[in-house]
């Protein structure tokens, strides 16, 4: 089965992922992945742990080995570490004693890759303050990053990746390990940022429900295959069953979506089977 882009919109996107394959030591991690991301859109990259979401991010960033296929930005092949793409990795561990304040980490997003010793211009300090305000992190700007809570660190990391004014922001599982309140806050903040700064967002998560209100499009990963489009186009039994390679049902309960697998019993007698539902 090849991956499908279910979107009917054929206008050129910001980012195009075409025929991407990743195979490490004979094991296929991603198989013929195709999808596109449009300017300023909020896209959810949904899949269970180990589905290949982080690998896909690494392909887009150009730091994944054994990858084939094309990643185009504005129709041009991506060069390594493009400044138009910001990245917030899944886990960043900061030692509590680390002598780096929130504002220092944000500033490194602007000039941390530059060689030579120069005084930081006033404009950079102003940009740092602006970014910290944009993610509601002004209150703890002068505290060490290692002493901040998970949600606070997440905000600082978002400010860090936004300061280079990217057109696309990649966030790898930013909602994992956050309490439900922080999850809602971070989603609202990202939605706001994407609208105000016209930055497209590709956010990975294993749970799609918190994202349903803000998601413009969904890229669903399973078994190394991908299906993309609007939520209504993708989250359907026919599409997801093909993706998983076995039959799944999609249940909608109180505005929430549940994808459940139908466990087929081993052996004959398919007519009097007792379906079992497993929530994924």
């Amino acid at each position: 089965m090849s991956a499908r882009d279910l979107s009917h919109d054929s206008s050129q996107g910001l980012l195009e992922v075409r025929h991407v394959n990743v195979s490490v030591e004979g094991r296929d991690i991603l198989r013929d992945v195709n999808f596109s991301i449009k300017h300023g859109e909020f896209t959810g990259l949904i899949g269970s742990n180990g589905a290949g979401k982080t690998t896909l991010f690494r392909v887009i960033l150009g730091i994944q080995e054994h990858a084939s296929g094309e990643v185009l930005l504005h129709g041009e092949p991506l060069t390594r570490a493009n400044r138009s793409i910001g990245y917030v990795p899944q886990k960043v561990l900061f030692d509590p004693d680390l002598p780096i304040r929130a504002r220092d980490l944000v500033a490194l997003g602007s000039d941390g890759h530059r060689y030579g010793l120069r005084r930081r211009p006033r404009a950079l300090h102003e940009a740092v303050d602006e970014m910290l305000d944009a993610v509601d992190a002004g209150a703890f700007a002068d505290r060490r990053v290692g002493g901040l809570s998970g949600g606070e660190q997440q905000r600082v990391l978002i400010a860090h990746s936004l300061i280079s004014r990217p057109e696309l922001l990649l966030l790898d599982e930013p909602l994992a390990n956050l309490d439900p309140g922080s999850v809602q806050e971070i989603i609202a903040l990202l939605h706001r940022v994407s609208q105000r700064q016209r930055v497209a967002i590709l956010l990975s998560a294993h749970e799609m429900n918190p994202l349903l209100p803000v998601m413009d499009r969904i890229v669903y990963v399973a078994n190394g295959h991908v299906a993309s489009g609007t939520t209504d186009e993708v989250v359907r039994p026919s599409v997801l069953s093909e993706l998983y390679g076995h039959h799944v049902d999609v249940l909608r309960v109180h505005g929430r979506v549940l994808v459940v697998a139908t466990a087929l019993p081993v052996g004959p007698a398919p007519n009097d089977q007792h379906p079992e539902f497993v929530v994924e």
Binding site: L61, I63, R80, A81, R83, Y87, P89, V92, F94, D97, L98, P99, I100, R101, D104, L105, L108, G109, D111, G112, H113, R114, Y115, G116, L117, D142, R143, R144, L157, H160, S161, S164
Partner: protein, 266 residues
């Protein structure tokens, strides 16, 4: 203790303290303390080898420190970093022991190499020490920001296009140079205490990165100056004072930081 023959001691000690203060800051930040312990032992083997074949000890120190640093850098890509470092450490120590047993070095010289000697740098070596020190600080200044970035959050730095491998290797080379200059003064076994103690204390006391580097250099200078004076006055190895002061500074900084937390909480 400020007589003319001590001038070398103060000068070389000051260069070493400045360099160790900056290099040590990044050693602590990157969690590379173990490498900072292993590389001086490589340098020690180099010095022993230099005595054996009759060349300048500084040459042996620099070449073997570089060899251990690059060895750690190369092997740690294939195996776990601590294992690679430990293997490099024991291989170099073994080599040093072999060199010492076949060469005819006086015991005080061996002692000086291991535990430090305030007159460890002779007048003829002062110029190369100064040049190597300036080069090391210059290289550090040049890649200060990428080094800070990869030390704080390597994955973010890589995503931003920093060549992390290049920064790793360049940093190990600078650690090797700093080590080669520090070993004759502080001693192979206690060089890493100068690289760890003052920076570890400074980073607890100061939250700003630039000021923490400055604090590390300041504490390192105080450590070395006090140690030279005390070593002269009490006729004990300088390494003893450097080690003892380093640990004391760290504990003191912890106490101060804790008091600060308690005070701000009440």
């Amino acid at each position: 203790m400020f007589s003319s023959f001590m001038t070398n001691a103060w000068l070389s000690g000051t260069i070493v303290a400045l360099l160790a203060g900056v290099v040590g800051f990044f050693v602590v930040l990157r969690g590379a303390s173990f490498a900072a312990h292993a590389i001086p032992n490589g340098a020690f083997a180099g010095a022993a080898g230099a005595y054996l074949i009759g060349v300048s000890p500084l040459l042996g120190l620099v070449s073997f420190a570089l060899l251990s640093a690059l060895g750690i850098g190369m092997t740690s890509r294939r195996t776990r970093n601590d294992v690679a470092t430990a293997l490099s450490l024991v291989a170099m120590l073994a080599l040093g022991a072999a060199f010492l047993s076949v060469s005819l070095i006086y015991e005080p010289t061996i002692n000086a190499l291991l535990f430090g000697e305030i007159l460890g740098v002779s007048s003829s070596q002062l110029a190369p020490v100064l040049i190597l020190g300036v080069v090391s600080v210059g290289v550090l200044a040049w890649f200060y920001r990428p080094l800070m970035f990869t030390s704080v959050a390597p994955e973010l730095a890589r995503a931003r296009g920093v060549n992390a491998t290049l920064v790793d290797v360049a940093f190990l080379v600078v650690v090797a140079l700093a080590t080669a200059l520090t070993v004759p003064v502080v001693g192979a076994l206690l060089t890493f205490s100068l690289m760890i103690g003052p920076p570890a204390a400074a980073r607890i006391l100061v939250a700003r990165p630039g000021w923490a580097v400055a604090g590390s250099v300041g504490l390192s200078l105080v450590t070395v100056w006090v140690s030279i004076g005390a070593s002269y006055a009490f006729n004990l190895p300088i390494g003893f004072f450097v080690g003892a002061l380093g640990a004391t500074l760290y504990l003191g900084a912890r106490v101060v930081a804790r008091r600060r937390v308690v005070r701000s909480a009440t």
